[in-house]
Symmetry: C2
Subunit: 574 residues, 2 copies
């Protein structure tokens, strides 16, 4: 680890790269003007004063570095080509940077390698006639984009109708080359950080990105409500996309999840990316350490890119005043569980400028959301956005908080009254749950489909109530690997032993945890005990419940001892 | 966060403090000679060239800092007293540093505040007669210690018998002041990092420290095999100990856990400490960020010091050659899951010098151990220590890996044959388990004690088998918050419905998951399903099992279709 890394650009991405390098005491040479973010926090290398677009400065950087890399793709690739020809090790390859700089070229490259992406048409001239032609081919609305120098939404214009043609061209046009992209009616934006090493392509988990005014606001990892299958598909697509490009290093792949769970690559960044900040706290190896490992040929395995804990990242953006973003930091400091605060040392803010970010990791996404939500609300309030409290419903974004951990199934809604005590217990222990009517006999397919996909949708324990033939718990257990608790319900005829035995006497190989007749109460308590092995808070609540329950019975004993059995009976109205 | 922090000392503790400050862009001024560890990685403040014992340099540091703190306690407290008198904000208080520098004074201070610690006697002179007197009072063996300038075991001598008196005095003596400490026959060494803020005293989780040649080698957090009660007691004791001292900041409290689960404070460090490195990766706020928060009066809450995930820290120590420690780093790089590597940039190593450290965090201690153990073995092999493979037994240190996740209880050993299928399942799924005979009727106290402490000892699911009156599962459930699976065993008399109903019909409030008669097989499968909600590997194994099980039955179907029922019966020997 004696090799020196030269970086074109000294912004926050360079700074976080330097932080990772500091841990390994890898010298990092930063080329940028002034006391830029990255220069502030490493004192091991030789910093170069100058613009990362200045040929002389780049040559100076190359002269004192063993590998040259970038933290921004808007660099002069001709100089990189020149220094590479003279023997410098430039990563990723200058050709990759050149292709990616031109977003339309990037797109052609993906299409050429059969990577799913939105259809695009380049405009010969920034003229209404050309745009009309594109609209004819792609339909409206469409996205008009500048081929170069576009980031954080700058260089994009959403063309809703023909009336937007002229304003769009005026906003983006002039001498810029443009292309039009088919409108992606996405349900969600996803991103995957990919690592290209000298001999393989690895990927970090799929992250959910939330943009506001075309700027990344939040990331949630794992992506909420996204199945394992989609996660794997997104990673595979991202690896395939990056495999198109030459050279080593980390690449950020932004994607759309569109209807029918189809994935489309949106854009690729040939460097660490905002949507991968979460990896610093949440993965064994961060995207920055991975980038260093890739360009320095240090060993790196897929397992090191796994998610240790769910994570939420919130960008700290410049606000109305030069220091209004620091109010968010102050709020973060006050929280009981403090998020990890990353400030970039960029001085005074402009509106929308990335000044820092916050990351929360926790045992569950639910818990991470509970920690982060007050800060999201604070930021929204600062920006004059309406924040929805608990009483309001529709506009609040979907949160894992609202996704159930327990599913309570019943063969018929007539079983529901018998389950009321159990639902009370789940509510008392703050276990998010869903109640569903699904019958082994009357809706066998819906039941099978529910049971098969329950684990994928975040459910961890299933309660199933049934009476008489009472096949539901056993049939659900046949379709899932989750623990299933069976609640025998007494039918109107007979003593209920039919329900009990049908649920209890499962064949070897498919277990159901059976409780006594009509005892939804105990089934719910059992679910809480089970959740307690994963969530310490559930165990704590259960232990408190045991103490209270004991106190309750002891109090009755005291009273009975005090007043005597006769008197006590009167109190019972007997 | 405009305040500048001045640090006496630029070693690894100063460096990690600077790393935490970098994230918040807090300027840190380091006073030390040369391009010391801390100076390498911060470029925000004004570094001072000179010794942290040099009065002029300290004054220079104070002049450019808003708060002055230390990363080492062996500083000149008279200069600190002088600059404090002149208005400098010195944290912790110079009096605290002065008291703690003298380990015997430190001890008297603790005793004065009624903090449990090993009994000690100061030696008037470093003479045999004085040591004899101390041995008379404290017994032998005892620990002879230098009052000052002692660290990493230097300045300590274990006096086993009278024959050691002279060698001990020669090793430590000369003009040094000495004291003798009663031998602590500890079962384990623990440490707690405490944070003293302007208005409260907070604590990090209790960590288990493993020393070798008196140098910290490993820390495990949470401490393995230590109950929650002891963890809480250790934190309370550490907070009480630190409350004795004036000023703000982080303190490391080292403790002994002696027989009878008694805790004794060993030593206190008035600064971040090796045993708290794990907090960087494992807690929302690290000990370094906590130190900055305390001395800069930033808000800080106890919840931010919680453990997000179990963690193991391994020190990288200088070995036989100047760079042999780098071999450990190379090994760490090769692992599938790479630990977080912290190198200190100290240049060439001396034997035993702290050159860096590695931290692993994982969902469970078991998994963290699986990642770290190869590196511990590598270090031990490097040091010529015998490494014990899986086949050898006794000397291998206790690991969480060997502690059971499932307890299989039975009222009588006569139930064991009925459970054989269940034990096979647990083995097949690689679930570590323990089998115990405990009876609700014949050993009620042992049963209650087992059930009450099971969760504390790492057990997560209990299987309990019983026949006839069959009280065991229900009684165990009454004493624990863990999920209990009841297995009714058919008694020699009757059809077994007595066993079933006794286990199934639990009163509201205490649930037992009941399986069918003699079905230990399904009870074990249910345990695996439950563990699957916490351990993804268990879920994966279970899903593979379901696929295999389905294949098995389908194969039988094919065969029966092929040969016909008649022929198939013959194959069954009917």
């Amino acid at each position: 680890m004696e090799k020196r890394v030269g970086v074109l650009g000294g912004g926050q991405l360079g700074a976080m790269l330097a932080e990772a390098a500091n841990l390994l005491r890898i010298p990092v040479n930063i080329l940028d003007v002034g006391h830029s973010s990255a220069k502030q926090i490493t004192h091991l290398g030789t910093h170069i004063e100058g613009s990362f677009k200045d040929p002389e400065a780049i040559k100076k950087l190359a002269a004192c570095s063993d590998v040259v890399t970038v933290e921004i793709e808007h660099v002069d690739t001709h100089i990189l080509e020149e220094i590479a020809a003279a023997g410098a090790d430039v990563q990723p390859h200058w050709k990759t940077l050149r292709t990616i700089q031109d977003k339309y070229e990037q797109k052609l490259c993906l299409i050429n390698d059969d990577v799913a992406t939105a259809r695009s048409v380049s405009l010969k001239n920034a003229a209404v006639a050309d745009l009309e032609g594109a609209a004819g081919s792609l339909g409206l609305p469409l996205m008009l984009k500048s081929r170069r120098e576009a980031y954080d939404g700058r260089g994009n214009f959403a063309v809703q109708s023909k009336d937007d043609f002229r304003p769009a061209l005026e906003a983006l046009g002039g001498d810029r080359e443009l292309y039009a992209e088919k409108w992606a009616n996405f349900t969600m934006e996803l991103a995957v950080m990919v690592v290209k090493t000298k001999d393989t392509v690895l990927s970090f988990p799929t992250t959910e990105t939330v943009h506001e005014n075309s700027i990344c606001k939040l990331t949630y990892t794992p992506a909420r409500g996204v199945s394992k299958t989609i996660d794997q598909q997104a990673q595979a697509l991202a690896r395939k996309a990056v495999a198109c490009f030459a050279g080593k290093g980390v690449f950020g792949v932004e994607m759309f999840l569109v209807e029918g769970d189809k994935l489309l690559v949106n854009e690729i960044a040939p460097r660490p990316h905002n949507s991968g900040h979460y990896t610093i706290e949440a993965c064994p190896v961060s995207q920055y350490e991975a980038h260093l490992s890739a360009i320095l040929d240090l060993p790196l395995h897929q397992e090191s890119l796994r998610l240790n804990q769910p994570a939420i990242m919130l960008n700290i953006l410049g606000g109305e005043t030069e220091d209004s973003h620091m109010k968010v930091v102050e709020e973060a400091m006050k929280l009981a569980v403090r998020p990890k605060i990353h400030l970039y040392g960029k001085g005074k803010a402009r509106k929308g400028r990335k000044m820092g970010h916050l990351t929360v990791t926790a045992a569950t996404m639910r818990e991470a959301e509970e920690i982060m939500q007050p800060l999201i609300d604070f930021v929204d309030t600062q920006n004059g956005k309406k924040v929805f409290g608990k009483s309001s419903k529709p506009q609040k974004p979907m949160t894992a908080k609202d996704t159930p951990l327990v599913a309570v199934l019943m063969g018929s809604d007539s079983d529901l009254p018998k389950l009321s005590g159990g639902l009370d217990i789940l509510a008392q222990f703050k276990v998010p749950y869903t109640t569903r009517v699904t019958s082994a006999h009357r809706t066998p397919k819906a039941m099978a489909q529910f049971a098969e996909t329950a684990a994928d949708r975040g459910i961890e324990v299933i309660l199933a109530a049934a009476g008489g033939a009472a096949h539901l718990p056993g049939m659900v257990a046949a379709y899932t690997s989750l623990p299933v608790i069976g609640i025998p319900i007494k039918p109107s005829l007979g003593d209920g032993m039919d329900s009990v035995l049908s649920i209890l006497n499962m064949p070897k190989g498919v277990p159901v945890a059976t409780v006594s007749l009509n005892n939804g109460h105990n089934a719910a308590l059992l679910a809480v005990r089970i959740l307690g092995i994963k969530y310490p808070i559930m165990r704590e609540r259960y232990e408190a419940f045991m103490v209270e329950s004991e106190k309750g019975v002891l109090a009755k004993d005291s009273r009975m001892e005090e007043v005597g059995g006769r008197e006590y009976l009167k109190g019972m109205g007997v």
